[in-house]
Each structure stands twice: as structure tokens, then as C-alpha cells.
């Protein structure tokens, strides 16, 4: 075993594993975005900002109001789910018949609103939970528990969504509506209700991601910008609305970022990921796993 490990650079292996762990959270974000796109045919540009609000929610519940972490997390998830539903009611619902670009730009306006709301209400200081989880030492490699926890929780979240979509009546209706919007309303399905449920579900996923990311990163009003763009790249590469594609693309990107960060700064990981994305667009323009029509 030791001989096997010696072949690899130990740091390389650590970076690979950390990439997988990062991929879990990114896959969670991509799933939320894909869900909303697949069902409502809208892209929430402000998705990462919902996560940011959720991170602030966690910060205030834990640091200011003194909730324990496990009690604050469900409240935050519900809060962001409500925010997602509200976003749908207030902004998307009046624009459902408008051109798709208008819907997208309106959520761009929401991005402005959430960012500046956070600046005005919470200030621009960096804040963190003050929870420092121990580090797991495995041979010469070190993994923080917060990352392992995030990965596990993200997987559980994704499996829950999968079960919801395949085992429940509402989930089945949501999958059906993403296949054909017109027919479903003719079949007597209340599309408006399903849209709100989907938005709330997308919000809940953002809330879960917020609970996990707040363990690893400080929160500030512009924190969404550091993982928002990469989430969009993942969704486009996986094929918008394609859950499996988004899942795999998330891990591909996470590995690139993690390995790029190993050789240089973390920002270069992002740059590398973008270069990879451009190359992939030439090779597979409709996403990694596009079905040939």
C-alpha cells in the first residue's frame, strides 16, 4: 500500500480528493439551477446570491442568536426556500409569457438587489461562524471535516431530491412538466402550483449549500460571485436542465479548480476551468452529454 502511495505525489492525491469533496457542493448548486431551468425554463442569475443570503442567515442564527448549528440549518433551508418561492411569485410569475431573456435579466436585477441589500443591512465585513471543525489526518494527507461533512450532506440532499422526483406524485408531475409544458396543463395539472414548489425546492437546495459553504468560507455580500459563474459554466457544460450532466460536470470542474489551485493560486484554477470550458464548447457545444436529435 505504501509503495502504491509513493508513486503518486501525496499533495496531488490530496488535491484530487479535495476536488471530489468540492464537487459535491458544486453538484448541489448545479442541481438546483438545473431543476429550475428544466421545469420553469428560467435561469436564475441570482442563484449564488440566494446562497449568500442563506450564509448570512446561518451567521446570524448561530453567532448572534446563539442557535446550535444543527438547529440553525433547517431554519436557513426553510428561509431560502421561502425566498425562492417569493422570487418566483414577485419576479418570474409576471414574466412567464415574456421573452426568456427578459426573465433572465429580471433575475439579474434581483442579483443587484440581494447584493446591495446585504451590503446595506450586514455591511461589507467578512464574517464567519467561528466553528472550526478538526482536520482528519490520513497518512500524510489532511482533509478538513467541514469538507467531508459538506460532501456527505450534499450527496444526501441530492439523493433526497432524486427520491422526491421519482417516488412522489408531485415529483412525477414536476418531471412530466419539464417534458411538455402545454400538455400538462391540458391534463389538469396546476402548473402554477408546481412552479412554486419547484422554486421553493431550488431555494431549499441553495439553502442547504449555504449551510455547508458557511463552514468553509467567510461570508460577505459578494461571496456569490466566487462560485456563481462556475455554477453557470457547470450547468452549460452539463447541458442546461440535464441533471446527470450537471452532476458529472460539477466534479470535472471541481477537479480542474482543485488541481489548478495546487500548482498555482486558486484563481488560476478558475481560469483553467474557463479555458477548458471554451475548448469543450468547440468539441461538444450542446453540453457534455447532449443527445443527438
Amino acid at each position: 500500500m505504501q509503495a502504491f502511495l509513493d508513486i503518486f505525489d501525496i499533495y496531488l492525491l490530496e488535491a484530487v480528493v479535495n476536488g471530489i469533496l468540492l464537487g459535491g457542493v458544486l453538484a448541489l448548486l448545479a442541481l438546483g439551477l438545473n431543476l429550475i431551468f428544466g421545469v420553469i425554463d428560467v435561469t436564475w442569475i441570482c442563484y449564488a446570491e440566494l446562497v449568500m443570503i442563506g450564509m448570512y442567515g446561518m451567521y446570524y442564527l448561530v453567532q448572534v442568536f446563539g442557535f446550535p448549528y444543527w438547529a440553525a440549518a433547517p431554519i436557513t433551508i426553510l428561509l431560502v426556500a421561502a425566498l425562492g418561492a417569493a422570487l418566483h411569485f414577485i419576479v418570474i410569475a409576471p414574466l412567464l409569457t415574456a421573452p426568456p431573456i427578459n426573465q433572465l435579466l429580471a433575475t439579474g436585477g434581483v442579483l443587484f438587489i440581494l447584493q446591495s441589500f446585504a451590503t446595506v443591512a450586514f455591511g461589507i465585513d467578512f464574517r464567519n461562524l467561528g466553528i472550526r471543525l478538526p482536520v482528519l489526518a490520513l497518512g500524510d494527507m489532511h482533509f478538513s471535516y467541514s469538507r467531508l461533512l459538506s460532501f456527505a450532506a450534499a450527496l444526501i440532499g441530492m439523493v433526497t431530491v432524486y427520491l422526491f422526483m421519482t417516488r412522489t406524485y408531485t415529483g412525477t408531475a414536476i418531471r412530466a412538466i419539464s417534458q411538455d409544458r402545454q400538455i400538462m396543463s391540458l391534463m389538469g395539472v396546476d402548473t402554477r402550483r408546481l412552479y412554486v414548489i419547484t422554486s421553493a425546492l431550488g431555494g431549499a437546495l441553495a439553502g442547504l449549500a449555504a449551510c455547508l459553504l458557511v463552514l468553509q468560507y467567510d461570508v460577505h455580500p459578494f461571496v456569490g460571485l466566487s462560485f456563481g459563474p462556475i455554477t453557470f459554466l457547470i450547468c452549460v457544460l452539463g447541458g442546461l436542465g440535464n441533471f446527470i450532466g450537471g452532476f458529472i460536470a460539477a466534479f470535472v470542474f471541481a477537479e480542474i479548480i482543485s488541481l489548478g489551485g495546487l500548482f498555482s493560486d486558486l484563481e488560476w484554477g478558475y481560469v483553467l476551468a474557463f479555458a477548458f470550458f471554451i475548448v469543450m464548447m468547440f468539441i461538444r457545444p450542446a453540453g457534455l452529454f447532449a443527445r443527438r436529435s
Binding site: S116, F232, L240, W268
Partner: protein, 333 residues
């Protein structure tokens, strides 16, 4: 038509004469900012009006500003050469990103997300190369000790006002030139139905690329001018998603289908930011963007043609251009 021209000539003469009559430096400063940003917004609207919604223009602007400043500081290259070089860099970036998009029919949501990522990545590159660019702390071009003209650094506002006015006029002329060219018809056909346009003999990829390239080059110029005028740039003010969204916001508020729409948008946004800043001071941090955001959402829902566009529609009685379907269509088809 001649009276129309006369109005334009009088308005232009008044704009040129303005700084010689009215010398308040603060107001001139605001005017210069409005003109530079109007030019940037106009360049966005050149492609935005055809449904090519780009959120990558923050990236082009950042390239324009940073390449010019870096060449000047590190290599001593005069902005007179640096600005064309920076525009070329932005043009190359635009082609590298846009060509696969157009070649492989990446449109709508996909195109917006790809360009959005582009502006995010330019921001990351500027931050990552902090040894050269100063990272998120910002960057200042070195003050020249020699010839001001060579360094394109002027102390007086009047010179800057005239430069900005000239560039802004050029922007309007380019807008008009595109508006009257065959490209406009080709692009409108493309934005209605790409396949039908291609079947009718329009070279879809080429036409889109041409418009995108013009727009990116102009945006880079705007970034470089902003840098030379303000003598300070930071990733947040000239690149990134916030700047891209600010452009979209201003153009939509002003009106994306009319030549002066972006200018009206610039006047409204900059005045709004300044009024908030003066009345609230440092407490205003964030408030201007909050108001922008709310207005952007309200405009898209209730007034997608923008302020100027809606006003012109209301007064338009000329029979040769009735409010037809393609004009009445909100923001982007």
C-alpha cells in the same frame, strides 16, 4: 429633413460650447462620466438590440482599461498605441468566446451564461495576477512627467469633456451606421429565426460575429478612456458581473431600440448614484445598486422598451413606421 439636421447641428454646437461658458469642475466631471459611460452603454446596445444579450461586456471593458494601464506602467507604451492594442486584445477575446457560440448555435440562456462566465473570469484573472495589476485593491497609471498629450493625461476637465464628447458622437454614428446597414436586417432576421435567416442566405455566424466584434472593440475603448480619465481602476469598477449588469440595466431603462436610449440610461443612472451619494454620504454604499436592482426588475416587467423608447412610441405618428410587431416586441426576441 433639413430642419432635423439643423436641430442636431445646434445641439452639437451647444454641447461643444458648454465647457467654455460653464466651468464648474464638479458638473463637468459628471458630464464626462456620463459621456464615457453613454459610449459604453451604446456599444452594449449595438448587439443587445438584436437579442444578443451579453453579460461579458464588463470583461471587455476590464481588458481595455487594464491592458492600456499595464502597457503604460510596465513597458512605457503610450496610450495612443496602448489603447488600440487593448482594443485588439478585447477583440481577440470576443472572437475566441463568441465564435464557438455562434458557430454551434449557442443562443439565448446559453449565450448569456457563457458571457456571464467570461466577465467573471476576467475579474478572476485580474485578481490572480495581483503582482502586476494590484488585484482587488485597484491600479493607478503612473503620472507622466513629460508630455501630457503623449501620455493622454490631462489635468483640465475641458479637454476631457471634448474627448469624451467626440467619442460619444462616434458611438452614436456607429449605432446609426449599423442601424442603416444591411447587417441590421440580417441581424433582425437572425433574432427572429436563425434557421430561416440561414435558409434565406444570411451568413449567421459571420453577421453575429461582426456585430459582437464592433461592440467589444467599442467597450474596450470605453474602458481605456475611463482609466485614462479617472487615473484609477479596480476590478469592481471596470470589470466583472456587476459592471455588465449595470450596462444592461442602463440600456434597458433608457431604451434599447433608440440611438439615444443608452445615453438617457447613463444620465439617469449616474445622476441617481450621485444624488444618493451627496444626500447620504458614505451611508449610501449599496443603496444605489439597491435602487438600480428594483428599477431594473420594475422596468422589465412594466416598461420593457425603456423610458425614451416608450416616449418616442407615444409621440410617433409618422405613417411609414407604424408600431409593427417587430418594434413592439419587448427587449429581446
Amino acid at each position: 429633413m433639413t430642419t432635423h439636421r439643423a436641430y442636431w447641428a445646434v445641439a452639437l454646437a451647444a454641447l461643444i460650447a458648454l465647457p467654455f461658458v460653464y466651468r464648474d469642475p464638479y458638473h463637468l466631471h459628471i458630464l464626462v462620466l456620463i459621456l464615457i459611460w453613454s459610449f459604453a452603454y451604446t456599444s452594449w446596445s449595438i448587439m443587445g438590440r438584436f437579442g444578443l444579450v451579453s453579460l461579458g461586456h464588463g470583461g471587455f471593458m476590464g481588458v481595455g482599461a487594464y491592458v492600456t494601464a499595464l502597457l503604460w506602467n510596465h513597458l512605457g507604451v503610450s496610450p495612443w498605441i496602448g489603447i488600440p492594442l487593448s482594443m485588439m486584445a478585447a477583440g481577440v477575446l470576443a472572437v475566441v468566446v463568441a465564435y464557438p457560440c455562434f458557430r454551434f448555435r449557442i443562443t439565448g440562456h446559453y449565450f448569456v451564461l457563457v458571457t456571464l462566465a467570461l466577465s467573471g473570469i476576467v475579474l478572476q484573472v485580474i485578481t490572480a495576477t495581483r503582482d502586476y495589476t494590484g488585484g482587488s485593491l485597484g491600479y493607478t497609471p503612473d503620472r507622466t512627467k513629460g508630455n501630457q498629450l503623449l501620455a493622454l493625461q490631462f489635468d483640465d476637465k475641458i479637454t476631457w469633456y471634448l474627448i469624451a464628447l467626440f467619442v460619444w458622437l462616434m458611438g452614436l454614428l456607429i449605432w446609426r451606421w449599423v442601424d442603416r446597414s444591411m447587417s441590421r436586417y440580417a441581424m433582425e432576421a437572425i433574432s427572429d429565426d436563425e434557421d430561416a435567416a440561414a435558409a434565406a442566405g444570411v451568413n449567421v455566424t459571420f453577421e453575429k460575429l461582426k456585430i459582437t466584434l464592433i461592440s467589444a472593440l467599442m467597450t474596450a475603448l470605453a474602458g481605456a478612456l475611463y482609466c485614462q480619465y479617472q487615473m484609477f481602476i479596480s476590478p469592481d469598477t471596470v470589470s466583472g458581473i456587476a459592471v455588465s449588469l449595470q450596462m444592461v440595466f442602463a440600456v434597458i431603462v433608457g431604451g434599447v431600440y433608440v440611438s439615444l436610449g443608452p445615453t438617457v440610461g447613463a444620465i439617469i443612472t449616474i445622476m441617481l448614484a450621485e444624488i444618493l451619494r451627496i444626500s447620504f454620504g458614505t451611508k449610501a454604499v449599496g443603496w444605489d445598486n439597491l435602487v438600480y436592482g428594483v428599477l431594473l426588475v420594475l422596468f422589465i416587467i412594466f416598461l420593457p422598451k425603456g423610458i425614451l423608447g416608450s416616449i418616442i412610441d407615444r409621440f410617433k405618428t409618422r405613417p411609414e413606421r407604424p408600431v409593427e410587431k417587430s418594434v413592439a416586441k419587448p427587449v429581446a426576441p
